[in-house]
């Protein structure tokens, strides 16, 4: 064989070898990229959902696009897997041969995520719908709106407004965070809710008469009460008896863990004058570090374990929910598991919780001890376990001493006295039971619901400006310059009306409070 023939053989084989190396490297790089979540995603459309995907890719392409970016799409969880319904479900309807429901409730998600469902169901998040019977909702339904529709009192140019929906503020405001009580329209005009359907543990309605009243559209779909749906409030009261909405945090239809890990996700609700956790976080060192180092925080990581996958900064999820090295990476969907004070009520309470996850209000130590299932100390230790990834034990203990002292100061100096004054006014008939019909009720509401919470939340998350200027400073100003003068004004008015005894009873309460060492400066001549 000639040298040139051998040259050709070496050339051809060498080229083939190098070509095969290019292929091998391509495969290796592709595999690596896939491992890191950077590669082209493999979408597995299950057989049951092929028709849905084909049709909705035309009619609602963004829904399909979002779903294709989800882990569900990779693992073969399609439309039907989540939207499938039992024919007996109140909101079930037939859609191209499949029995579906529009709303996917936590009970539906529990078919695969049962542990998450259990954790979430016992959380305070799941109970957020309880606001529907609270003071806040009274504000939206009555003070801001009206529980019944009413007639407009003048025309709206260009628009024929015939009726004013008095619940509009509650629907659009409160309930979009706290959750609506989902209702179907009834054939008799009355809405049908979970109360009417009386679902069993399996979520199926037990009240056939209520089911029979459900109004349906021309293709047989049940018609939702437009005030209650769309709604992704976290404590939504669903037709199947479950509470909450997983998509409150895991936005549909990509259900991105990355997004749920970012504080902006929580900021849909945890912001504003009454509980500005998002703004407080942004002001804190934690938030500053997050803004700076977000790109290094491995937010796309599979498990996102603090100390393993990232350690640059904590987000809301890090401290309240995510797994970390000290707990073996265990995630919780009950954010209350690591919170030791509840700063929601006028007077902060420690988070001793009972078997139902409710905060124990009993004052008798023995009664409390009998009820406690998860103590505030246990909860605090869980949070400390998170803190101590970045801080020493002494540092964390020091922080909690400052925080505890702050909350106790607020409780003792303003919250409890304020509560006592408001109770004295009510008990002695100087104010009515009706809320927000007297100026002092607005004053008191601002004091604890807005300024008092801002102060406590500011202290809890290391935002000094919120703790002080947006918090305690305004609490003090509201207490001394508005609450006390307004209460005294009501006392004077009562004396003038001939109710001297009642007025003096309230005055005695105020006098006793202002004579306390922490308040004595207010009316002393020396100002000390």
């Amino acid at each position: 064989m000639s040298l040139s023939a051998k040259q050709s053989i070496i050339g051809i084989l060498g080229f083939l070898f190098l070509l095969s190396l290019v292929f091998v490297q391509y495969e290796e790089v592709t595999r690596r990229r896939a491992e890191e979540g950077l590669g082209e995603r493999h979408i597995a459309v299950p057989e049951t959902s092929k028709a849905c995907v084909d049709c909705h890719a035309e009619s609602t392409p963004a829904i399909i696009d979002h779903w294709e970016g989800s882990t569900h799409a990779e693992t073969g969880v399609g439309c039907v897997e989540c939207h499938q319904a039992n024919p007996e479900d109140a909101d079930a309807f037939s859609h191209y041969g499949e029995t579906l429901a529009t709303i996917v409730t936590p009970l539906d998600c529990a078919r695969c995520h049962s542990q998450v469902f259990d954790e979430f169901t016992r959380s305070h998040h799941a109970a957020a719908g309880n606001i529907l019977a609270s003071l806040d909702n009274y504000l939206a339904e009555t003070v801001e709106g009206n529980r019944e529709p009413f007639n407009p009192h003048s025309p709206t140019p260009g628009r024929a407004v015939t009726e004013v929906n008095g619940m509009a503020s509650a629907f659009v405001g409160c309930q979009q965070c706290h959750g609506s009580k989902v209702a179907l329209e009834g054939t008799d005009g009355e809405p049908i809710t979970v109360d009417d359907l009386a679902p069993g543990a399996d979520g199926l309605p037990t009240n056939a008469a209520a089911v029979a009243r459900i109004a349906r559209d021309d293709i047989g779909r049940p018609v939702f009460d437009a005030g209650t749906w769309p709604n992704t409030g976290i404590g939504r009261l669903n037709l199947d008896g479950s509470r909450g909405s997983c998509s409150a945090c895991h936005s549909r239809h990509d259900f991105s863990p990355r997004r749920a890990r970012q504080p902006e996700n929580c900021g849909k609700c945890h912001l504003g004058p009454d509980h500005p956790q998002k703004e407080i976080y942004e002001e804190s060192k934690h938030g500053v570090a997050y803004r700076d180092l977000k790109d290094h925080m491995n937010l796309d990581g599979k498990d996102w374990v603090l100390g393993e996958d990232y350690s640059q900064a904590p987000t809301c999820a890090t401290c309240h929910m995510s797994g970390h090295m000290r707990n073996g990476g265990k995630i919780t969907h009950d954010p209350g598991e690591r919170i030791s004070w509840t700063n929601r009520p006028p007077i902060s309470m420690v988070m001793d919780t009972d078997a139902q996850g409710k905060v124990i209000k009993a004052t008798d130590p023995e009664e409390r001890a009998a009820l406690v299932v998860d103590s505030w100390q246990d909860k605090r230790q869980r949070m400390k376990d998170v803190c101590m990834h970045c801080h020493t034990g002494a540092y964390v203990d020091g922080f909690y001493k400052q925080y505890d002292d702050f909350v106790v100061l607020y409780n003792e100096k303003f919250a409890k006295p304020g509560t006592d004054i408001m109770a004295a006014l009510l008990d002695n008939g100087l104010r009515t039971k009706s809320q927000f019909d007297e100026e002092i009720e607005w004053t008191w509401f601002y004091l604890w619901h807005h300024e008092g919470r801002r102060a406590r939340h500011g202290a809890s998350m290391m935002a000094p400006d919120y703790a002080h200027w947006h918090g305690m400073y305004e609490v003090a100003e509201r207490f001394y310059q508005e609450l006390i003068p307004q209460a005294r004004h009501m006392i004077e008015a009562a004396v003038e009306e001939g109710r001297a005894e009642a007025a003096h009873a309230v005055e005695a309460v105020i006098t006793e409070i202002l004579a306390r060492p922490e308040h004595v400066w207010f009316e002393s001549e020396t100002g000390k």
Partner: protein
């Protein structure tokens, strides 16, 4: 002679003429063809690997607790660390590829034949060292795939009868992957094998110098390959051009496809897909085709044949004197088999 030159020559008694003679080895004209420069390429890449390897060793820590983190530190925090690591990674790939290409050239041109059989054996030893140094280097990253690749590799070696089990224990420093394993791999990778390779390279090049480069002539145009040319500077410049091309290729690969990091090694979680480095794909696929000892013994037989090839080839030539190109056809079959098995392993997950 000025004072400085005299001072040096008194202490290093080498004359300029002697130095010129040493470097001006006449080189046969056929070496002007680029494909005869493939022997210099792995040597050049070996130097790149030593330089980048030393720089990486400044930061690398060979313990299970800190190996992964130290590589992560190199990749993410050390200035140009990612580039050095990528150069080292791609340098290894190109070095192995060029060693294989060099060996192919030597094989197909019959340059291993008498009197160069021993140099073929030295070359084979260098090939094995290159593969083992690649294997140990891959394992040092301590990521899931490299950890499990090392574990599987050690288990495979235990299938070799008699010596397999002791070999595995020697490699791992115990019954299974443990705290000593990484330091053993690091010592092999950064000290023992490089020193061994330098010694083998000295022997390899010395034998070339002693025996001279095999002379080839194009039968159709013998005049093309008549005569010789100087090693320095002519051949050195050709090698330099090859080296610069390789450096550009290396820098481009390191920049466009930088070395990444998989998940940290977790001895408790076996990954769904375990792959060794690409140069072991052939062996990996071969081992999957057969079972246990049969696979290992047949693989051992192939390696033995490769080592002993100059002598087996001589026997074949004696047996079939008219079929002098038999080795070419065997070689074509062998290379196609290697390419086929490599592609097969690359294309499938398991």
């Amino acid at each position: 002679m000025n004072g400085i030159t005299r001072w040096i020559t008194e202490r290093i008694p080498v004359e300029g003429d002697q130095l010129r003679e040493l470097t001006n080895e006449p080189v046969p004209n056929h070496l002007k063809r680029w494909w005869f420069c493939l022997g210099g390429t792995p040597a050049y890449l070996f130097v790149v690997q030593i330089v980048t390897g030393i720089m990486l060793a400044f930061y690398y820590q060979a313990t299970p607790d800190s190996a992964y983190e130290s590589v992560q530190h190199i990749t993410e925090h050390v200035s140009y660390g990612w580039f050095l690591r990528s150069l080292h990674k791609w340098g290894a790939t190109l070095m192995i590829a060029s060693v294989i290409l060099h060996q192919m050239r030597v094989y197909f041109t019959g340059a291993y034949r008498k009197p160069r059989e021993l140099n073929w054996l030295v070359g084979m030893c260098l090939l094995v060292c290159t593969l083992v140094i690649g294997f140990t280097g891959y394992s040092l990253v301590y990521e899931q795939l490299s950890y499990w690749g090392a574990t599987v590799g050690a288990n495979i070696s235990s299938s070799v009868p008699v010596v397999g089990e002791p070999m595995r224990r020697l490699l791992l420093g115990g019954e299974e992957y443990n705290e000593s394993t990484l330091s053993r791999f690091f010592m092999l990778h950064a000290a023992i094998l490089p020193v061994l390779m330098v010694m083998l390279l000295v022997i390899h090049i010395s034998l070339i110098r002693l025996q001279g480069v095999t002379e080839f002539k194009d039968e159709k145009h013998p005049e093309r390959d008549e005569g010789t040319f100087n090693f320095f500077p002519e051949h050195v410049l050709t090698e330099l051009i090859m080296g610069l091309v390789i450096m550009i290729l290396l820098a481009a690969l390191a920049t466009l496809l930088p070395a990444t990091m998989g998940p940290r090694a977790d001895p408790l979680v076996t990954p769904e897909v375990i792959k060794p480095e690409w140069f072991f794909y052939v062996a990996f696929r071969w081992l999957k085709l057969f079972t246990g000892t049969v696979a290992v013994l047949s693989m051992g037989f192939v390696v033995f044949v490769m080592f002993a090839w100059p002598f087996l080839d001589a026997a074949l030539v004696r047996r079939f004197p008219k079929k002098t190109d038999l080795h070419v056809w065997i070689g074509i079959f062998g290379v196609l088999l290697i390419i086929g098995l490599t592609l097969w392993e690359a294309a499938v997950a398991h």
